[in-house]
């Protein structure tokens, strides 16, 4: 079989390293298997996998796509493998970081010690759109703000891992992590027989347990439900998947009603109470009485009920201030401040364009930079300098100068690659990793692995599914 270019020059390939050697240790049993399968068979199996995804309906809607067609996220058959040693390091770093994020939120919505200590500037928080003054002085059940977190990690070398961003609002993708594994198990049982791979399928049960632990301060054995914006939301499949796996109701805002101070759902026999809502809708749409009055997705009175302690919302409203990209740049200081420890996982070096000197630097080096909107997500509105045309660079400098505090910039990292199956054999493509983290007062749980997103276009660094990225099954090997 044609292995094509095994590794790109000056890049780290996770299967082959930097050379044309036999391959890196975690991949030593996989590589001969790929050779044995051969290109023809793998190509056929790749098509089968796609049919499987379509018929199960693992699809997403793309916003702004006029024909409204549902698409599937391309799934690449070649797994990405993480050794137990590598994972141990990642897991520790993630737990430390997520604990700090929760402590940060509790502080920001109470005494704001971190501002008083002069670690971060007041205006960064208090004039930030993601900061929710309505949450000030309120303590959520169990003192947990971010029950579910996704930490995006990139790699540039054997031991070089960086956190690219935190997702503290409603991180998505966990259903792909689980479905990718299920698909691989069905198609290649032999691989799982000769590798010892840590399971990911406990996630829904752990999610339920973690939410129940957080709610235990006000209720035992809670009624848990998921709140979705509805079937046209891009992540609807995931919402229904999780509800299904957890065996709980999938609600839309119109199913909920706040009655006599309690939160209830409208059922075929009347109403029944809800205690915990894993909401997959943004803060703004939760409650038209407290937030966006035009929201048709939300439930009037829900936020008051939350503040009165009769219902738990996960994640807490206002948690988004922790994944603001300008706040991200302070994360190393934030971790030190709350844990007293040195961060185990580094940030990607980040320039805050609000600072005039940084802005000057960013504009002069724009063709080497990745520039992001501080509040953006999903790969929208960002500039990848090396891939941009002269004109795009010029236009973007103008945008930067007009509203510098709206942007941060990072150097273009040479992200690690993993082989993918292309039409002409294997080829290295850039990847990132989103591990999923569950936080309760008792425990922080990290599912081994996470979702590997891969930029399927040659040379591309943008892994977002909305921008043509794909996914891979991600294996963490047992020790």
């Amino acid at each position: 079989m044609n292995f094509g270019v095994r590794a790109l020059r000056d890049m780290f390939d996770e299967a082959f390293g930097c050379s044309e050697g036999k391959g890196r240790q975690p991949y030593l049993k996989l590589i001969p298997w790929i050779e044995e399968q051969g290109f023809g068979k793998l190509s056929k199996q790749s098509i089968q996998a796609e049919e499987l995804f379509r018929s199960i309906g693992i699809t997403f809607n793309v916003y702004g796509d006029s024909d409204g067609e549902e698409r599937i996220i391309p799934f690449d058959l070649i797994p990405r493998i993480i050794s137990s040693r590598e994972w141990l390091h990642l897991e520790k770093g993630i737990i430390q970081r997520v604990a700090a994020i929760n402590a940060f939120l509790a502080d920001i919505y109470h005494r704001q010690e971190i501002i008083r200590a002069g670690i971060i500037p007041s205006e960064l928080i208090n004039s930030n759109a993601a900061f929710l003054p309505e949450m000030c002085g309120f303590t959520p059940p169990g003192n947990i703000y971010t029950h579910i977190v996704g930490v995006d990690i990139v790699r540039t070398g054997p031991d070089e891992f960086f956190v690219l961003e935190d997702n503290a609002r409603v991180p998505s993708g966990v259903s792909y992590m689980i479905e990718n594994r299920a698909t691989m198990l069905q198609m290649f049982p032999e691989l799982f027989a000769n590798h010892r791979i840590r399971t990911v399928s406990d996630y829904p049960k752990q999610l339920f347990q973690s939410l129940a632990e957080s709610a235990s301060s006000f209720i035992d054995d809670p009624n848990v439900a998921i709140l979705t914006p509805g079937i046209f939301n891009s992540a609807y499949y995931e919402h229904s998947f999780l509800a299904d796996e957890m065996g709980i109701d999938l609600l839309e805002g119109s199913d909920l009603e706040v009655r006599g101070g309690r939160v209830t759902i409208r059922t075929t026999t009347g109403t029944s109470p809800v205690d915990v809502i894993y909401r997959r809708i943004d803060d703004d749409y939760l409650d038209p009485l407290s937030f966006n009055p035009d929201s048709v997705l939300g439930t009037p009175g829900l936020f008051d009920a939350y503040r009165n302690g009769v219902v738990m919302l996960a994640n807490a409203p206002g948690a988004g201030i922790a994944d603001d990209k300008a706040v991200y740049s302070y994360m190393p200081e934030i971790i030190k401040f709350y844990t007293g420890e040195k961060p185990l996982l580094d940030n990607v070096p980040t320039w805050r364009c609000a600072d005039p000197e940084s802005l000057q630097y960013v504009i002069s080096n724009l063709d080497d930079m990745v520039v992001k909107e501080v509040n953006g997500s999903g790969g929208y509105g960002m500039l990848v300098g090396p891939a941009a045309s002269k004109r795009e660079l010029k236009d973007f400098s103008r945008k930067l100068r007009a509203n510098p505090s709206n942007y941060i910039a990072q150097p273009t990292l040479s992200l690690s690659t993993v082989p993918v199956l292309t039409r002409s054999g294997l080829a290295p493509r850039h990847v990132d990793l989103r591990p999923f983290v569950l936080v309760s007062p008792e425990k922080i749980r990290v599912t081994p692995g996470g979702l590997t997103r891969v930029a399927l276009k040659k040379g591309s660094l943008v892994v977002n599914s909305s921008q043509g990225g794909g996914t891979k099954d991600t294996w963490v090997l047992e020790a």
């Binding site: 018929s55 199960i56 309906g57 999938l250 839309e252 409208r266 059922t267 026999t269």
Partner: protein, 313 residues
């Protein structure tokens, strides 16, 4: 169970049943057109008329030629009840209650929708028609099989079955009513000089041709046909059969929810009339009036269920 979910289940089943019925009706009419040289476009016109879609159709087309009717019924853009639109509405409803369905049920529906959408992307040619129709009907059968074989027979199942049988009763009543009004304006059911093919197409539209012949040993008689389609409780598309199933599912809901429902009472009243009608002499009935009353009662029942079980949004 969420009221909205019950609503989605109920309508999902109704839309699917409606799509299947449309496909069966085209199948019967096609068979008629290909085997009898008489009648012209009348039978194609009848498809449009009996579904109450004439105005929308006339906005689009001048005549009732086969190609126009088929494409209107299967994939007409202006037709909210085209098969393609019904499949997509059924799937949309299924999607919003996905976690109430088993993987097999959902998948069967998703696959029908995918293949239906693909097959009906372009205008349908007559050489492709039989396979397309068969595929739609088969999709419905697979769905039904998955439903019976994999779902818990609980309230979810009851709402699905209610949707199916209320839609089916409506369809059978409309087809029978329309046909008898056209053929027998006097409402007397003595066998006149009638073209057998008219009764054949009626029976075939309800996939009852073979079963009628089985029961009546080939003796074609309008009064027997009416009686078979309305009162024979062995025939899965007869009105009595439908109402037996409707009553059973409502009684199940009464049992599992531990209370009485007005809608269940309404359904049992209709069932009583059907049983009574079966025992009385059909010749003395005004068939048209009987059918009209039933269509109304069926509609009212659908609305009463929506109110009593919190179905409306």
């Amino acid at each position: 169970m969420l009221g909205r979910h019950a609503d989605s289940l109920f309508w999902m089943a109704r839309y699917l049943e409606r799509a299947e019925n449309s496909a069966r009706r085209i199948q019967a009419t096609l068979h008629h057109t290909l085997t009898r040289r008489t009648g012209g476009d009348e039978e194609w016109e009848a498809i449009i008329q009996s579904t109450g879609n004439t105005d929308t159709y006339n906005d689009q087309h001048k005549s009732f030629v086969m190609a126009n009717v088929i494409n209107f019924v299967l994939r007409g853009k202006a037709n909210d009840d085209s098969v393609v639109s019904l499949l997509s509405k059924a799937r949309q409803n299924a999607k919003s209650v996905r976690n109430a369905l088993t993987q097999e049920v959902w998948q069967s529906l998703n696959e029908s929708w995918m293949s239906g959408k693909e097959a009906l992307k372009r205008p349908v040619k007559i050489q492709d028609l039989p396979a397309i129709l068969e595929n739609i009907i088969k999709g419905s059968s697979v769905f039904r099989g998955a439903l019976y074989g994999t779902m818990l027979h609980n309230d979810i199942f009851n709402f699905l079955r209610l949707g199916t049988f209320i839609e089916r009763a409506d369809n059978t009543a409309r087809i029978v009513g329309f046909r008898y009004q056209r053929l027998l304006p006097t409402a007397s059911l003595s066998l006149g000089d009638t073209d057998y093919s008219q009764w054949e197409i009626l029976l075939r539209s309800l996939s009852a041709w073979k079963s009628y012949n089985w029961v009546h040993r080939g003796r074609l008689d309008p009064s027997d046909v009416a009686s078979f389609l309305i009162f024979d409780d062995r025939m899965p598309r007869s009105l009595l059969f439908c109402y037996g199933a409707i009553c059973k599912n409502l009684t199940d809901l009464e049992t599992s929810y531990g209370r009485d429902y007005g809608s269940a009472h309404q359904a049992r009243e209709t069932l009583k009339q059907l049983v009574g009608g079966k025992q009385s002499d059909i010749h003395r009935l005004s068939l048209r009036e009987f059918i009209d009353t039933l269509i109304h009662a069926n509609n009212d029942l659908s609305l009463a269920i929506a109110v009593e079980f919190n179905l409306e949004r």
